[in-house]
Amino acid sequence: MDNRPSRHRLVRIRSSRCEPPGERRLPKREIGGARVRIGLLTEGGYPYVSGDARLWCDRLVRGLERHELDVYALSRSERQEDEGWIPLPSHVRRVRTAPLWRAEDGGVAHGRRARRRFAEAYGELAAAVCTARAGGLAGEAAGGGSEAEADRFGNALYALAELARDEGGLAGALRSEVAVRALERACRAPGGLRAAREARVPDLLTVAAHLERALRPLSLDWYEDDGLGSVDLCHAAAGGTAALPGLLARHFHEVPLLVTEYGVPLRAHYLGASGDAPVRALLAAFHRHLTVEVYRQATCLTPGNTHARRWQERCGADRTKIRTVYPGMDASRFAEVGEAPECSDPHTLVWVGRIEPTKDLISLLHAFAEIRRAEPKARLRIVGAAAGGEGAAYLGHCKTLAAQLFPDEADGVHAVGDNPVSFEEIGDPAVPDLAEAYAAGAVVVLSSVVEGFPISLVEAMFCGRPTVSTDVGAVVEVIGGTGLVVPPRNPRALAEACVALLRAPERRARLGAAARSRALELFTVEQNVAAFRGIYLEVVSRAPVRKLVLDDTGEPLPFGAPAESRVPGRWTESRLVTGSLGVAGVAGVAGLGLVTGRPRWALGEPVRATTPARATGVPPVPPATATGEPVPAGEGAR
């Protein structure tokens, strides 16, 4: 478990008491900070209103106000595009989007030479995908064989990307007969995947269509010098397709890549795969190769929990570059409840979550029957809505079972009876919000048989409630030593643990306090943002982008990208601020990141190239400072 302390780099410089008040320095100064231009890569995510993980991304972006952000977003559907973006903070300098759901270039016809290049590159890609692995996975073997195989896949991928950059979109070519024929040849080749050998023509067509969709990011125009070439760091908010542009930016411009994975896209692909065996085999092999390539090329990997970390290690990620960064959650909603643990009813158990079969409420009800036998005053509140039709059916099932197990009870002969198990939803009069739901219970129970990152558990910890949970998914990792953990599908053990807690109020209080402090240390937004801030600086300091600035004769310009351009905030004299703002603003709009952050003598007609060898092919960037006096750079374009 990764329990590293949060990576604060904040040092407070306190003014000494002898200083007069007027000479006090600013209280806060970041030591070792630098301004980083981050390219945030998302797929069906952040700026869109209906995107995945957009709350997390939004908090991250808002937490990075000292840096600059370019957002590169791939949208998943037309509906998502129509719904628009969430409001963006001002230090997001640019948002570029591209649809993944539609091929944009139907009509690009390649010439003969481009077709030959495509056939070679695609054939190599197909061959790399179809080659059966000799031993285990790349991470297990890590021998020369898997290394060479990964190299082969990567080289083919980059060859396709270069072709797309030189000749235009690949959508037509990727669905053409050339591609299908290359796939067929690779499948029939000796030493190929066993399942792929039986691939028929429809399978080949399906695979070709899927690969075309998966490789659409290759045809984007994001990889120019003023696109992803101008950022210091690519941060992919998910693995898989979202990381593909980052992979290409790394290939074209040596931009370091940071990949955050809260889920494992490869695992999701395996679980969601459908179709015939050859199709699934080929697609799984492709996605596995892509994942391995992403993990190989990434400078840093930040899985959201140990489960994702295990998959990453399994897929060949180098352990030295994996840092677990727990997702951050908003703790302020639970502050009031968390500070007042005594407001709960000492006989009430609470379960909160989405009602689904995998939550195993049946087991919980059986356990509660035993709890009632030991503690007749115990009550169980199940708070949550059913998810989907299956969940609704399951909820009905659970309600029936609860009614069978527990007859309605009343205090006396004249009182109206009530069932000790209640099913409620957030928004009911008794449970106005989530914090109230947790506040009602003395113990929070989790009875799932399958769980990823248990958010309800984290919320319970924020509320300072002791928890009893089943040992599934990331539960042990989240709970640490601050709650009780029982095996899944074991109602008796669950009941014993609950009874133990119900009978011991002091222990409840102790565990609750420990849980709250643990959650506040590990799962807050601040922790998340601070961790990423530190990782950014570390990545940039270790793998700086070598931006070579050329003057108009093609000679490299010494000190063209000085260190001062990284100084956060304003470092120039205040009298120059007015002049520089306009120019920097223009540069920001035009996306000429190279102009900002350059001393005045470096502002001529600059030409930037990633490597000197490619310098001749790069068109000169138009001077952004054509008018007015050259201004000192380093002003952030804000």
């Binding site: 709350l55 007969e177 067509l205 809260y262 989405r354 990823g452 990152f453």
Partner: protein, 494 residues
Amino acid sequence: MSELRLDGLDELDGLDELDEPDELDGAGGLDGVGLEGALGARASRGPASSPGVKALRGPADEPAAEASAGSGAGPASGGKLAPPPTATLDPAPDPTATLDPAPDPTAELDPAPPESAAPSPKVGGESLAAATSKPALRRGAVDPVKALMHRHRELCERAVDPLEIAAGLEAHGVTDRTAARFRHRDVFSLAEEMYARVPRDGETPPERDPVPGAPGAGRGWAVLALLPGALCAAAVAGVRLVEGQPRVVAAVAAIGALAVTLGLRVALGRGPLRAPSGTRSRTRAWWTCWLIAYALLGDGLLAAGLDDGPHGRWPLAAAPVLGLALACAPAIWCAHLLSVRARRKLAASRGLAEFADSVRPLLLGVFVLYMCALAALLALCGALLDEPAAHAGAGALGALLLFARLLTAHGSAHAPAVVLCTASLTEAFALVTVFASRLPGYSFLAVPVETVVAAWGPGAVPTLVCGTAALVLLVHATRTLTRASAHALPSEDT
């Protein structure tokens, strides 16, 4: 709860739809039978191995045994003495935590009573035997992975990769701690063993999903294919009815032409001849209109031009146009036949070359069928409208238009556009040479056309032009339409 969804982190514990409630419960029951029964036997292999002692073991014994086995501790034999599983993670073990594990004899809520779970219909022969008879139980203890494989046999048989089994096992709640009970370091190595142990010798290839049919877009297209023919017939009938009043005739003809064009658009806008989105080309539509207009007017104009005319109105050839409009229906039906048959062959063929070989005769057969229908329609129209029955030009034009549309519908729009453009320009050029030859000194311009017309009549010009163009497209089609990629379903972009 909204936070759960908004965070997007809930997808971590998603994919739950894989489990249906009853299936899950069945698995739970099985767990109790196959796994814990086996483990219980393993844990208490000593004196507790007699059936009587097994029956005496209270329900509370099972969690304890499971916990000790799950923690991976070596001495799993002390199942009865193991601490309660709940206390393992408590930072401050509390005296009250050591609950009395006295089994309640009346526990009707026993977590997984083997006897009650055994008759579950899901239990296969093996674990049923493992649950009921003692020797079988011991066998299960020897090979617990086999029982696990039996429980997840569908997953194992379906898997193409050890990782797929690992993902499936995790979705069923198997963790590394569970894997430790199978003497494996983690789920991945357990999955690898399971993948390696799936029998694969001489297996028959599993039955395949049927290849989805052509995108029908409703069944209306088969009837709508008749629309252009019907409209054209109505227009011709209208023109015939009002004959003698030139203005009215012109108006009716114009309305009829417009209606036929619209009808054509509607008929071709759906069904098997629908052009894929993104390949709409205005110019191709114009060339098509020009070719049809030439079929209507061109022969008469050419003849009149060679005769130093035209003197007043020259005769219109309504029969070829009516025939072509009526032939829309067989064209669309033939295209449907082609796509359905080709898709069937696609599913049946093992390789691309095999597919090409089987589609080529199909393509030619469909073409012949269409030509027969077209010839019959043209003859019928000629007979009905009392026009001379020389319709070779219209037939060639029909073939040309069919191939152009077929190729466009199957994704190669470039060649048809070029060929249609060339054919139209050639016909226009023939007309222009005839009239340009009247200029003094340029009479040689009309010589080729005059020669052709003298030999075979004015209908020979479109016959030659369209015939050549159709032949070119036929050759092109036998190369492109026999490719598998031409018959791929359009991507379901969502």
